[in-house]
């Protein structure tokens, strides 16, 4: 669901095809019939943006027919935990949870907590309200539980009640999936889950690019926990990520709100005391996050080296602080409003690659200076003379005062370094040739820019410059004036101890300043002083888990939480699904993979009172990053828009919310401003102007916004023009000629595309209402060998409140025959 694996990850899809040939079943739930659907046993067309209703329906089915995995649910999830009596569900408040603050449009989640204590999330909104005053949950057993799962306020009962109305009939009404098709699917999934079998969910941006994206994934997580499909072979929820190192960039953290290893960046109201900051952010809780202080201090040591001492809290005082959401879309608005003056773009193309391209280009025009580093001259570098606004005559280059630097970048063949792939596997690529001309690696750019700045700042005595001047910036160079040694940088990331010996693993990361570690989850990738990410032992020389190829974080574990592949006593759930198990002889966890659990912790281990971090977890708690060691069916903290997933309509939708009075995700991030207009939704006046659903996607032949494919003749000729996919019914209704032109109209922009009329796009029936969907690949722009309008131009800025990702998988539009007026696109 939410993924077009065959088209976007074809080589990974080989394993799906192989599984199919071994009797596996492939079901594709997607608004469009794609090349993935073509190979699937069944394709189920669904209305874009209605996935929570669909998955919620499955949860309802599993609970109603008792198809869940009882032992797994009872021992490995928080089903038995009792929730604060102040908690009120969306069933009580018609689409809201308790704690909603309408003025600030945000939740206070104190009423979502475990009864008698607060609990910290392993990710997302880390700080638990009032964590300093109230007792923090430490250790395996939360204060109150009901193993019989009967208590009205236990998670299991709350869950049952929350999804009560997600019946097959409701699913049909909301998603457009027929009752019969839905039941057949539910059946299949249940039959393929349990001790003997497992079901896996594969998703991609089809789930994330929504105003409730994080909750889409949460819903699948709940379902998979109920079915016992987590931490086991052939199970899980697999995110297929789109860029070679998008996982690494998240881990090492070119993201505003986290430091390397998902350590939260301090907020303005966080304590200025390192210790207090850590305990407030989970450092006092159970599970491995209990060691937050070790991770943070070692990172600070990596940043400021000898300048990081106990006296200055290891440089904690050097860290900047957040005052809210500072994500990329906020920056864009900052550029438009001229509060952001300078902008670096490293191998990305926001002018066509981000939602509401017009707004991004406006931002670029309002900058003082812009630095673009790329292999090719992309739209983001050429916006000032080659953009829809210039083409339309709306603007002339002379009118634009942005200063632009275009610096040619080195390709992956021209530098050594590591990528972290979608399964957290670090793989090293070796330099093959020297970069041509002025092309340089980002490593070179970062290092030498830093050198210049530090040299220039060193002359002035400004206390504000302490953080940059004291920064540990000593890196051995491959040659004078050349790149810093990437191996050395990776060593710093993976960490070393006082003697400079590389750390064997994350267990060795210390908080007393004795270790240095740039990213604690990568600790161990340089164990023994060798770069384990460069291991390339052929798969035919090792077992199927292939631990000797590259290195996966954490600790080279290939399946996370794999302790759950064994029962509470440590025995495999079944012979067929044997993976990691407790070996009484050696008193160790063994298996083909690295056990994701303290190696020598007995299944019957009970923590001593007062134990913290992982030591507070008993031997039957597989989810070691959670403070209670359990999989969360109910998320008391971490998510800002509710402890349980709830179906809301997209910001722009042709239908009303059939489940609640509350139409849309109350917490979603809105930007109500003239240059970011939203369409009226179903029922509101004017909504009939934009009667169709529009969604975006990728094609095998291109890559994201085209920066790495539109400039290549080999790929360009395979998909040479921007087109839109419409159903024969819509084509007839709107008079769209196959092979002709159509204009997609929204309040943000009108773009033109060739018309591909295809039965692969189905018109969905909702009672007497038919909803048509328009599909748009988003690969084109004004540059490259093949050019076309950019699909991202038609979408508004509206974000998921947890992760600030834009909603481009569902909006509304109108479509008309013919080309757009030449007079400009906005």
């Amino acid at each position: 669901m939410g993924s077009n694996m065959a088209e976007c990850h074809p080589v990974a899809f080989q394993w799906v095809v192989e599984a199919k040939q071994n009797g596996g079943k492939l079901i594709h739930v997607d608004p469009r019939f794609t090349r993935t659907s073509a190979l699937a046993d069944r394709h189920i067309p669904i209305r874009a943006g209605s996935d929570i209703a669909f998955l919620g329906g499955l949860i309802h089915y599993v609970l109603e027919h008792q198809r869940y995995f009882p032992e797994y649910v009872r021992s490995y999830t928080n089903a038995a935990t009792i929730i604060d009596e102040r908690f009120l569900d969306t069933e009580d408040l018609d689409g809201f949870f308790s704690g909603w603050n309408p003025k600030e449009r945000r939740y206070d989640n104190s009423s979502w907590q475990y009864a008698g204590g607060v609990i910290h999330a392993a990710a997302g909104q880390r700080t638990a309200p009032g964590a300093l005053e109230r007792a923090t949950v430490v250790g395996g057993s939360p204060p109150q539980e009901d193993p019989t799962l009967q208590h009205p306020r236990c998670v299991f009962q709350l869950l049952t009640r929350h999804f009560e109305r997600y019946t097959p009939e409701m699913v049909e009404k909301v998603t457009g999936v027929s009752r019969a098709a839905f039941l057949e699917l539910a059946q299949t999934i249940c039959d393929n889950s349990g001790r003997e079998r497992t079901t896996a969910f594969v998703y991609a941006v089809g789930w994330t690019q929504h105003t409730a994206g994080a909750q889409f994934i949460r819903t699948a997580a709940i379902l998979q926990l109920l079915l016992g499909n987590m931490g086991r072979t052939g199970g899980g929820i697999l995110a297929l990520r789109g860029h070679a190192n998008i996982q690494g960039a998240t881990d090492i953290a070119t993201l505003f709100d986290v430091l390397p290893g998902y350590i939260p960046v301090p907020k303005v109201d966080d304590p200025t005391d390192l210790g207090e900051f850590c305990s407030l952010n989970g450092g006092a809780a159970g599970g491995y996050w209990g060691n937050l202080q070790n991770y943070l201090v070692s990172l600070l040591k990596a940043y400021w080296g000898d300048a990081a001492t106990a006296d200055n809290q290891y440089g904690f005082e050097y860290l900047h602080r957040l005052t809210g959401d500072h994500s990329t879309y906020q920056s864009t608005l900052g550029m438009v409003d001229k509060t952001v003056r300078g902008f670096f773009v490293l191998g990305e193309n926001p002018a066509v690659g981000s939602a509401h391209g017009g707004l991004h280009r406006k931002g670029l025009r309002n900058l003082e200076w812009l630095v673009v580093r790329d292999l090719y001259e992309i739209e983001t570098a050429s916006f000032w003379y080659d953009s829809p606004e210039i083409a339309s005559g709306e603007l002339r280059p002379e009118d634009i005062d942005t200063e632009v630097f275009l610096l040619p970048a080195a390709a992956h063949t021209e530098k050594s370094g590591s990528f972290t792939n979608t399964q957290r596997l670090l793989q090293w690529h070796e330099q093959a040739v020297e970069p041509p001309g002025d092309c340089r690696s980002e490593l070179w750019f970062a290092y030498w820019l830093g050198e210049r700045i530090r040299r220039k700042l060193a002359q002035r005595e400004d206390p504000r410059d302490a953080a940059i001047l004291k920064l540990n910036w000593n890196y051995p160079l491959l040659q004078p004036g050349g790149d810093p040694d990437p191996h050395h940088v990776l060593r710093e990331i993976c960490g070393w101890d006082g003697q400079g010996t590389s750390l064997p693993g994350l267990g060795a990361v210390r908080g007393d300043g004795s270790t240095t570690c740039g990213c604690w989850i990568y600790a161990g990738a340089f164990a023994g002083g060798t770069n384990l990410t460069s291991r390339r032992r052929p798969h035919w020389e090792q077992n199927w888990v292939a631990l000797d190829w590259g290195w996966a974080w954490p600790m080279n574990r290939r399946i996370l939480y794999n302790r759950a592949s064994a029962d509470p006593e440590g025995r495999p759930w079944s012979e067929r699904k044997r993976y990691v198990e407790w070996d009484e002889k050696t008193c160790r966890w063994i298996g083909p993979d690295t056990p994701d659990f303290p190696l020598d912790r007995r299944p019957d281990f009970q923590p001593s009172p007062g134990a913290t971090a992982e030591n507070s977890l008993s031997g039957d708690r597989p989810f070691i990053m959670q403070s209670d060691g359990r999989g969360w069916l109910f998320a008391p903290s971490g998510l800002v828009d509710g402890p349980l997933p709830t179906h809301y309509e997209p910001q722009e939708s042709p239908l009303r919310n059939a489940l609640y009075e509350q139409e849309r995700n109350p917490g979603r991030q809105l930007f109500r401003r003239v240059d970011n207009p939203y369409h009226p939704s179903a029922g509101e006046p004017g909504s009939e102007e934009f009667p169709f659903v529009v969604t975006t996607y990728r094609l095998t032949e291109h890559h994201t916004a085209g920066g790495m494919s539109r400039f290549l003749s080999r790929l360009s000729q395979l998909q040479p023009e921007m087109f839109c996919e419409v159903s024969p019914e819509l084509a007839a209704e709107r008079g769209l000629r196959p092979g002709g032109w159509a204009t997609i109209v929204t309040l943000r922009a009108s773009i033109e595309a060739r018309v591909l009329v295809t039965p692969r796009v189905t018109a969905l029936k909702f009672g007497n209402r038919t909803v048509h969907q328009v599909g748009l690949p988003y690969h084109w722009g004004s540059r490259g060998l093949v050019r076309g309008d950019s699909a991202n131009d038609v979408f508004p800025l509206v974000l998921d409140p947890n992760v600030h990702i834009q909603e481009v998988k569902a909006a509304t539009c109108d479509i008309r025959p013919g080309r757009r007026p030449r007079g400009g696109i906005s």
């Binding site: 196959p738 009329v757 295809t758 039965p759």
Partner: protein, 290 residues
């Protein structure tokens, strides 16, 4: 979407490729064919001691034998590599067989002519002429095998009749050429060649269309259709003129001969053109195979 046409096709796209050849090829079919028939004429004429006819036929044939390779070479994608035609001898390839034939044919005629000019013994001239005379008819008809031995529906479908079309046409055009070139006195045999040749040509062409059935459509459509009308009209008219006026009037014979030549040339053009039309519409191929 694939249209539900019957027989089904892939977006109506051609299955076999249209010929890669250019205009020179049908012209060569005409010139080479005529020259082959003329060589045969000169051989027989020698036996029947008709020196005048022998020499005239031979000279005309020689002219054809010199033009032919020029036409073939200019049709090549890489003319500089024309010698590669004699690189191997592939009995499996009508074109290979043809190339060697043409080479032998040309040299034989050349030899005959030179032998006569430098006054070598008549026997030598005779031998060379026999060689040319025997190769000649093959030169006139092998081109039909060359077309039949393709995947092109309209050529392949008629592979056993095309040789007769070509031989008849060559006979007619040879006669026609002589009618144009020769003095009215001894044109009787040439006229007979035209009439007999045209008869064979038109009858076998008719039979060919019958045998092809629906595949013959291109002969009635587009450029091939037009060329078909032209070739039929001028061949029949030419033959008629030759049979009637040609008896008495030199002019009549010349005009009739010319018309015959036009018809014969148009016939090759027509068949060549039909090959394009037949390849461009996949339904012909699918029909021919289902």
């Amino acid at each position: 979407m694939v249209p539900a046409a019957n027989p089904r096709s892939y977006y109506g796209l051609p299955i076999v490729k249209r010929p890669a050849w250019t205009q020179e090829v049908p012209w060569y079919f005409f010139v080479g064919g005529t020259s082959g028939a003329l060589a045969a004429t000169s051989m027989v004429a020698r036996w029947s001691a008709n020196a005048g006819l022998e020499r005239r036929a031979r000279r005309l044939a020689l002219a054809g034998a010199l033009i032919s390779p020029a036409l073939l070479i200019s049709d090549l994608g890489r003319p500089s590599r024309f010698l590669n035609m004699l690189r191997v001898f592939r009995p499996t390839s009508p074109m290979s067989v043809g190339s060697w034939t043409l080479a032998g044919f040309g040299s034989a005629l050349g030899a005959a002519e030179t032998a006569e000019l430098v006054g070598l013994p008549a026997a030598m001239v005779g031998t060379a002429e026999v060689a040319a005379g025997v190769l000649g008819p093959i030169l006139s008809t092998y081109t039909a095998v060359l077309l039949g031995d393709t995947a092109n529906p309209i050529w392949r479908g008629a592979r056993h009749l095309l040789p007769f079309v070509f031989s008849g046409s060559s006979m007619a055009s040879a006669g026609g050429a002589l009618c144009v070139a020769g003095p009215v006195g001894d044109l009787r045999s040439a006229r007979l060649m035209v009439v007999a040749g045209t008869a064979v040509e038109q009858l076998s062409f008719f039979a060919m269309e019958r045998q092809l059935g629906a595949l013959a459509e291109p002969y009635a459509e587009g450029r091939a259709g037009t060329l078909n009308t032209i070739q039929r009209a001028s061949s029949l008219l030419g033959a008629a003129l030759i049979a009637t006026l040609g008896r008495r009037s030199r002019l009549g014979a010349a005009v009739g001969g010319a018309l015959t030549l036009v018809g014969s040339a148009a016939l090759r053009q027509c068949i060549y053109r039909a090959g394009f039309q037949s390849a461009e519409d996949p339904t012909y191929l699918v029909r021919s195979q289902s």
